[in-house]
């Protein structure tokens, strides 16, 4: 089982993963599930009316706007990093938080490395399945490396220009 790290109230913690991440051809299981966008669109009504917690996995090429109307029904959205160099998921998470107002879990899947903890947290990710064996402690250290930030982002950190005005 890959480790799940969650960021709750500013703390990184190893967490139990309640969700089953289902491939498109995998049989549906009981309990909370994560599905691809395609599968979710095909099966959403049956799933959601069953009262189940549902998450959607978004490939880097998929537009988060396609989920806009479903977001209130979703417990989790999981943008995927096909390679850590592929930064599209940063935009996906930013739009989820800042534009679409999603308040559920935003989970980083794929090539998720601690070196990007800082960027992911700032874009609004709050759960992580690291691909490099890193621990919650590693993530806490990496994400907290910088005492200041220059931009307003999807997290609640005060940018330099706000600090300066105080």
């Amino acid at each position: 089982m890959p480790t799940l790290i969650r960021l709750i109230d500013g703390r990184f913690e190893a967490a139990e993963d309640r969700f089953t991440d289902l491939a498109d051809d995998a049989e549906l299981v009981a309990g909370p599930v994560i599905l691809s966008l395609t599968r979710f669109q095909a099966e959403s009504d049956a799933l959601v009316t069953a009262g189940r917690q549902v998450g959607v996995r978004l490939a880097a090429s998929e537009a988060v706007e396609d989920l806009a109307y479903d977001l209130p029904r979703l417990a989790l959205v999981a943008p995927v990093f096909p390679k850590f160099r592929d930064g599209r998921a940063f935009t996906t998470a930013t739009l989820l938080r800042q534009r679409l107002g999603f308040t559920g879990e935003v989970r980083a899947l794929g090539d998720v490395l601690r070196e990007q903890a800082f960027f992911m947290v700032r874009c609004g990710f709050d759960s992580f399945v690291p691909a490099d064996g890193s621990t919650a402690e590693d993530w806490s250290r990496a994400a907290g490396r910088f005492r200041h930030v220059y931009q307003r982002a999807a997290d609640d950190r005060a940018p330099a220009f706000v600090e300066r005005a105080q």
Binding site: F146, Y150, A153
Partner: protein, 551 residues
């Protein structure tokens, strides 16, 4: 100079500490080279042919004397006594040890310097006009906006893993000294008719394998909306730029494939959805503007008789004044360009001794301000006319008084195969051969402004696409060959050079340039530069001159 505050300083210290940890993990085997490479690149550290190369940012090309001395110290302590100023106003150290890199970053941070985002697929160090704050023809000081962009782009949460690198240039002057039209984004600061400050926004310029001149997507962006509009451009690029082919990943390819109008429409659509919180508050804009130390210019006479009589008896000084000294916005002051292009020199290289001297002269005569240019020279932007002779003397003593700015021997050249792991052919020796051919300054002055730009591979770091004469090194069955092209310009009249003909062997390049120049001299009409004559007369006469023997 923009004065860093505690926040800016903490940031650099944190970054240096982070890199120290990453280097330690690499050396201990906790990070593989594949994992470490993007991290070191984000800190400007490349592995080149002979050693590591550290590229240090000179934000918008502006340096204080103490920062220049910090470079000299690094050159002496951790390198072989020299550094190389690049076409993006940065400096590179060619002989760095990985084990020393953390100490170098610490030393830089102590002088408000860093190597952040000098490589990698992120927003690179923003470049600007080396005459900023000194030239009369600017609508606003572009350094203020450069600093705004420096802060916005530093560790940008959303735009640090773009499809490819991203370069922004800003000029406040119609005379473009930044090559803005061959940048991913080029910004020209202007005042509208009603006096409102704004930017012409040009997107999708670039060189490399597929060169493009940038297209204007907005004539007048209100200055206060700069960051939200940049966010919109970067967001469209981050989402839709190609990631399947490294050669097609720059924003120029996206702009070209969508068309500038469609790209602009997508940007506008995205921009319309962003709120005012995406822009910098006016109070912070004002703070940044105020953090540039005011310059105390004196009221001076517009002429200096002492200088004029000194020049009358010193041909070298007279030539220096003609070629290297430019008009300043204030009477009694001048802009001094320092050519890093003396005969036999490597274009852009400066020794530690030379850096220290430039720092001393800037402190004593130049109001403590130094600039690096994208043409690989240095500038003292504020020198009194009455001090010019002393500055010329001080520069000449360390081999920096060579009076060839904008002449044919003032050549841009990338490091090429002498240093660079990507190069196919050398660039430096070719530049040296051409410079030597035109070492007669009377002849060079007669030829006038002629920009030769040399790249050692198709990545075009030597700007060959925008050279009046461009030279591209190619590998022809393992031998160095050079393809010449004519008619490029990186200035406000930007254009892409066209290939002259088949590539030439290394020892034929200087001869060919000589023939091109003779052809120009024979054809030129009143006041025409080489570029103007080429544009009027076309390729044929030049082609015949170089390839006549081959017929």
């Amino acid at each position: 100079m923009y004065r860093y505050d505690a926040i800016d300083r903490d940031f650099l210290a944190d970054r240096a500490a982070e890199f120290r940890g990453q280097v330690a993990r690499r050396l201990a085997g906790e990070l593989t080279e594949d994992q470490f490479k993007p991290l070191r690149l984000m800190n400007g550290l490349y592995l080149q042919l002979h050693a590591y190369m550290l590229r240090v940012a000179v934000p918008y090309g502006a340096l204080s004397p103490s920062q220049m001395r910090a470079f000299a110290h690094i050159a002496r302590t951790w390198d072989k006594g020299y550094g190389h100023f690049t076409t993006r106003q940065n400096i590179q150290f060619n002989w760095v040890r990985l084990g020393d890199a953390p100490d170098i970053l610490d030393h830089l941070a102590r002088h408000d310097l860093h190597a952040i985002q000098t490589s990698g697929n992120c927003i690179r160090n923003v470049t600007s006009d080396p005459y900023a704050g000194a030239t009369a023809d600017e609508a606003d000081d572009p350094r203020v906006w450069s600093e705004v962009i420096r802060q916005w782009s530093t560790l940008h949460p959303e735009f640090s893993f773009l499809p490819r690198k991203f370069k922004i240039a800003i000029t406040g002057s119609e005379a473009d000294r930044t090559a803005a039209k061959v940048h991913d984004i080029g910004l020209v600061v202007r005042r509208a008719e009603d006096g409102e400050l704004g930017f012409e926004v040009m997107v999708g310029g670039g060189q490399g394998r597929t060169p493009y001149i940038a297209r204007t997507i907005r004539q007048h962006l209100p200055a206060s909306r700069l960051l939200s509009y940049l966010d919109a451009i970067l967001r469209v690029y981050n989402r839709h730029g190609r990631r399947d082919n490294i050669y097609k990943a720059r924003i120029k390819i996206l702009v070209a494939s969508l068309g500038a109008e469609e790209f602009a429409r997508q940007v506008d659509e995205e921009w319309a959805r962003s709120g005012p919180e995406a822009d910098l508050p006016d109070t912070e804009l004002a703070r940044i503007r105020g953090a540039f130390a005011p310059i105390a210019f004196e009221a001076l006479p517009a002429r200096s008789e002492a200088l004029e009589s000194a020049a009358a008896s010193d041909r070298g000084l007279a030539r220096f004044l003609r070629n290297n000294v430019k008009a300043h916005k204030r009477p009694g002051y001048a802009i001094v360009e320092i050519a890093l292009k003396a005969p036999g020199a490597t274009p852009g290289d400066a020794s530690a001794e030379q850096m220290d001297r430039v720092a001393d002269l800037a402190e004593r005569y130049g109001l403590g301000d130094i600039r690096a240019t994208h043409e690989q020279n240095l500038v003292l932007p504020h020198v009194k006319l009455t001090d010019l002779a002393a500055v010329y003397q001080g520069l000449s003593e360390v081999g920096l008084g060579y009076p060839n700015i904008n002449l044919i021997s003032d050549i841009i050249a990338c490091p090429g195969l002498d240093y660079c792991a990507l190069a196919n052919a050398r660039a430096i020796p070719v530049a040296q051969a051409i410079a030597e051919r035109f070492a007669d300054l009377d002849r060079a002055e007669n030829v006038g402004e002629l920009k030769v730009k040399i790249s050692g591979c198709i990545n075009a770091c030597g700007h060959h696409h925008v050279g009046h004469i461009g030279v591209l090194g190619v590998d022809k069955k393992g031998e160095e060959y050079y393809q010449l092209s004519l008619g490029g310009s990186g200035a406000q009249d930007a254009s892409l050079a066209q290939i002259l003909g088949p590539a030439l062997p290394a020892d034929a390049v200087a001869d060919a340039v000589d023939r091109l120049v003779e052809t120009y001299l024979a054809l030129r009409q009143d006041g025409e530069r080489f570029l103007d004559t080429y544009r009027r007369a076309g390729m044929n006469p030049f082609k015949e001159a170089v390839y006549a023997d081959a017929h």
